[in-house]
């Protein structure tokens, strides 16, 4: 199986309820004493693109092996795309959308 470089989106109670109602709670993993996290996979090319488009983010190679420090509004957008598509496979669409529309993509 190819290595993935995920983005972790942490889920509060409100979002957890919404995901349950949408039948998407199965997409969540439990970590750190019951916290819910949506793990959105990226391949290597997607990871590199995300890090280039959002220079404040970093790939944590040492501990979590995930893309971290993405601003909340970016993760909010990814979350809403996952919910709309009912799939974790959203990163190509996300990257294309941001490349096309820039900051307007988040409005």
């Amino acid at each position: 199986m190819a290595e993935t470089f995920p983005i972790n989106i942490w889920i509060n109670e409100e979002r957890f309820k919404a995901l349950q109602e949408a039948g998407l709670a199965n997409l969540l993993k439990e970590e750190l004493a019951g916290m819910k996290v949506l793990i959105v996979p990226c391949n290597e090319a997607q990871r590199d693109k995300v890090l280039k488009l959002f220079p404040m983010a970093k790939y944590d190679a040492a501990t979590t092996k995930s893309i971290e420090l993405l601003p909340k509004y970016v993760k909010d957008k990814i979350y809403s795309m996952v919910v709309a598509k009912k799939s974790l496979n959203v990163m190509d669409e996300f990257i294309a959308g941001f490349e096309k529309e820039g900051e307007k993509f988040f409005q």
């Binding site: 004493a33 944590d60 190679a61 993760k75």
Partner: protein
């Protein structure tokens, strides 16, 4: 009172507190503006945080530090403390060996610098020796390469003490003030927790682990009969140059203090202070430097966890432990407390030491990055992982000091007030 600092040498304090005397001493001296980095280190030297050094290092000390991890006199020393300067500045200010200059900061007098030596040093060699790499993406190496071409060595005397702004004011203590505070508390053993982090419960357990280890064979009864603890934990926060994504300094200091205020540590066992120091991320060598600073503060023990002061994948998880263990006990008078990670075990239903728990495949490890990610997402973590009172302070600090974020961003870097200022004399 004479205190003994690192290397069993008297604690340095080179500060003129009498303003009239200070004015007299600096009269007529050529003025040289110091950068924030250099001003920070001049203050550290003068108060004795870096005892036994009394000034910026000369070439022999730098060479011995780099090559042998000691000063020229054989005292253990791991990180060069240097004053860099360009040829143009040397010419413009007429700097010569044997003269004294007045370092200024923000246009105000800071310290007398007795220039004993002007020298060059190969920066690539310095980087390789101190950081174990020449790669510029290592932040310590980057800082080394950014040094100007010459270095000045010589003694420093502070003539104008820094004014530390709120909310940091009560947390800044000099080494002498630390020692006076410990005496007041009657602490006989004090263990350092080095931090540049907002605490999650993994950190909290590391501190508890280190406290119990440091308290060691001392009697509990004595502690109880006196009604006050005789061992303590000093959380000494590093306040200095920030990188994007770091926690803001205000959040670090105030959340660490909140752990005691909210009762996770007894009032008489826990104390928070700060030290001005720009992290070099030198991993094992920085661990040695932290030991030196905390020895000078008067601490007896120092906790070292996983990847102490490391960055990226330059050092292996417990490399700092190995380096510290290689130093003869008589050369480093603080006792290291080596601790393993603490993690959440869903099987045990508690936070546990990975060296004790047998459910290896189930452990959910704490990661500072992961916790930052949770906070960035504005999700309140479970209390077993992150104390709710600490979370509230983090969010409060974001509003009050962080331009909406508890993490260093462009706004904080550009607009945050410096932690200290130098006022007119």
């Amino acid at each position: 009172m004479e205190y003994i600092g690192h290397g069993n040498k008297p604690l340095v304090e080179r500060v003129i507190t009498d303003k009239a005397e200070a004015k007299k001493k600096i009269a007529g001296l050529p003025q040289v503006p110091a950068s924030r980095q250099m001003a920070t280190e001049a203050i550290g030297i003068a108060y004795g945080f870096f005892s036994p050094i009394q000034g910026f290092m000369g070439k022999a000390d730098v060479e011995a530090t780099c090559k042998k991890m000691e000063l020229a006199d054989g005292t253990v020393w791991s990180i060069p403390i240097v004053y860099d300067i360009s040829d143009k500045e040397i010419a413009d200010y007429g700097i010569k060996e044997g003269m004294s200059v007045l370092l200024t900061y923000d246009g105000n007098p800071l310290a007398i610098f007795d220039i004993e030596e002007i020298y060059t040093y190969n920066k690539e060699d310095m980087a390789q020796d101190v950081y174990g790499t020449k790669e510029e993406k290592h932040p310590g190496v980057k800082r080394t390469y950014a040094y100007k071409d010459k270095f000045l060595g010589g003694k420093i005397t502070l003539v104008n003490e820094p004014k530390v702004r709120e909310p940091f004011t009560p947390y800044f203590l000099t080494p002498r003030q630390h020692r006076a505070k410990f005496a007041e508390k009657n602490w006989q053993r004090i263990v350092a927790h080095q931090t540049r982090n907002v605490p999650h419960s993994g950190h909290e357990w590391l501190m508890k682990h280190a406290y119990i280890a440091a308290h060691g064979e001392m009697p509990v009864e004595q502690m109880e009969s006196m009604g006050k603890a005789i061992s303590g934990i000093l959380v000494n926060c590093i306040v200095g140059e920030k990188r994007a994504g770091d926690y803001i300094d205000e959040a670090i200091v105030l959340t660490q203090d909140e752990l005691r205020k909210a009762g996770y540590f007894r009032e008489d066992i826990h104390m928070v202070t700060m030290t001005f120091w720009d992290m070099r991320y030198a991993g094992p060598r920085e661990a040695v430097h932290h030991s030196i600073i905390r020895t000078n503060l008067g601490l007896t023990h120092h906790m070292f966890g996983r990847d102490h002061a490391g960055v990226g994948t330059y050092y292996h998880s417990y490399q700092a432990h190995h380096l510290l263990m290689s130093i003869p006990k008589e050369k480093l008078s603080i006792t290291p407390i080596y601790v393993l990670e603490w993690a959440y075990c869903p099987h045990c239903g508690e936070v546990t030491c990975i060296g004790l728990c047998g459910h290896w495949n189930e452990l959910q490890k704490f990661s500072g990055t992961k916790i930052r990610s949770i906070i960035m997402d504005e999700v309140k973590p479970t209390r077993l992982i992150f104390r709710p009172e600490v979370f509230d302070v983090v969010m409060d600090c974001a509003k009050k000091y962080g331009f909406g974020s508890p993490f260093v961003g462009e706004d904080y870097l550009a607009k945050a007030k410096p932690a200290f200022t130098i006022e007119p004399l």
